[in-house]
């Protein structure tokens, strides 16, 4: 479904170049969910944004459904692939009602039967019709993230790109959103590519996980290896250990990768 080969992304020019992604390759099968983990600045979001063509310039090839992506985004692509952002507070236009937010993709792609679809989308993400005319500031963070998911799903795409969809949320709300994502994937057979720096969250959703560090994939492993088995890389082990809570002795042994 998604094939990424030797992806590189650079920002800036000349001496100021930041090489954010340096030759990343992986494939995601149809209906699979694939996770990217790593520390802040390791290039996770950049990979996602390159696939979504938010940063249109990249090196290497990305194929979706077998077709290589060009740097010009086509409108049809939006129907196939959608993205959910990290910050539910920033991803919704503050002056648009939920209704307007959900209506917009339908208008852009000239899809008919708008009212029914909007109602259906709301109920899909577990929100009642009373939310339809609210503004983003009138609903909670978890509910906002659901709206963002609803917007991404309203065009019925096959692929969902998720950039830390829960890291801004409270634990209890995080659980709601994670459940929703799981349910939708099961019901619709969606393909997920999810970024997070919380290993537990990634392992909860994804079958396979790539660990990134400084623009490269350092290790690719399955969720079960991550859980039970020993990750091969020290870096991954350190990440795992940090997820497990504070351990004075373990912290002493941390290495900084710079």
């Amino acid at each position: 479904m998604i094939e990424v080969e030797n992806l590189t992304v650079e920002f800036g020019r000349g001496a100021a170049t930041v090489r954010a992604v340096r030759g990343v390759s992986f494939t995601v099968a149809q209906g699979e969910s694939y996770g990217l983990v790593g520390e802040s600045g390791s290039g996770k979001s950049t990979v996602l944004r390159a696939i979504a063509r938010i940063n249109p310039e990249f090196g290497g090839t990305i194929r979706v459904n077998g077709t290589p992506l060009t740097s010009k985004r086509s409108r049809d692509e939006a129907r196939r692939m959608q993205m959910v952002f990290q910050d539910p507070y920033g991803a919704l236009h503050p002056r648009h009602t939920v209704d307007a937010i959900l209506r917009e993709p339908l208008e852009i792609h000239r899809v008919g039967d708008k009212d029914r679809r909007i109602k259906a989308a709301l109920s899909d993400v577990g929100l009642g019709p009373e939310f339809r005319f609210r503004y983003p500031h009138q609903i909670s963070g978890g509910q906002r993230q659901r709206i963002a998911v609803a917007r991404a799903l309203i065009l019925e795409p096959e692929i969902l790109l998720l950039d830390e969809p829960t890291s801004a949320l409270d634990v209890s709300v995080q659980a709601e959103v994670l459940n929703l994502l799981k349910r939708l994937q099961r019901e619709r057979g969606l393909t997920y590519l999810m970024v997070s720096h919380n290993l537990a969250v990634v392992a909860h959703i994804c079958e396979r996980v790539a660990v990134m560090n400084r623009g490269r994939v350092v290790e690719e492993l399955t969720a079960s290896t991550l859980r039970g088995g020993e990750p091969a890389e020290a870096y991954t082990r350190q990440l795992v250990s940090a997820t497990e809570g504070y351990d004075r002795e373990a912290v002493r042994g941390y290495v900084t990768y710079e």
């Binding site: 939006a78 959608q82 920033g90 991803a91 503050p94 993709p105 852009i108 009373e130 005319f133």
Partner: protein
Amino acid sequence: MSAAADPQGAGLRAWLRSPSPASTWQARAQRAYLGWVAFRANPIAMAGLLIVVALVLAAIFAPLLTGSRGLDPDLPNRLLPPSAEHWLGTDQLGRDIYDRLIWGSRVTLYIVGLVSIIVAPIGLAVGTLAGYAGGWVDTVLMRIVDIFLAFPRLILALAFVAALGPGLENAVLAIALTTWSPYARIARAEVLTIRKADYIVAAEAQGASTWRILRKHVVPLCLASVIVRLTLDMAGIILTAAGLGFLGLGAQPPLPEWGAMISTGRDFLYDQWWVPTAPGAAIFLVSLGFCLLGDGLRDVLDPRSGEA
């Protein structure tokens, strides 16, 4: 409050405060209502609103409020001091100053209205386009804006009026042409802060065209700050119009434009103080009204100021 005792009032209030609005309409009404509640709590802003409303009422009901249109000279009765018959006295041609002020409110509103509908769209269009498109479009547009900014304002207005010929419309047009540039800057600055926002990116990811993003996403967000700035600038606009009037380039006689009234009345300040003072006070009051209103609006509309 009496509204609480009134069941219908209470019902309306409940409707307005209901946490889950049932329609877009209700949601809008609620926003307006809550804004209004915040606004009402601000005495300064209310004072501003009161003044502006009074101006509008004066303009609408001018025929009822006055005894004459204040246009016909009445030479024997010139320069009468304020009295029961002439509340604000009469001017150098014997016209009732109060009548002229009231009719002049129409002119003032006309100026204010016309400038607003010219300045805001131009400023918004240029600013949002420059900010959103970036690159050479931005560079070119901003250079133009800079040129207009660097031009001495009154001079530019004067030049335009001189070129177009004196008269109220032309004066207003000239003012508009000299006022739009800061709006473009504001709008651009605003766009630059939101251009990278996720909701814009999200809209792009939906496949929205540039035009659609500007219209539906960017402009609505800049509008608030532009409107606020516009009300704050209103004082300046009225005063520039008055300045053009002062230099004899604004409204043509006998139109009771306030600036022109001060201008022609200024020679009487020392002996018949009421002639220039009445229009001066009117301009002062209305400018103050707009300033206060703008300040209040900013507190209500702009989440960055105030704590509520």
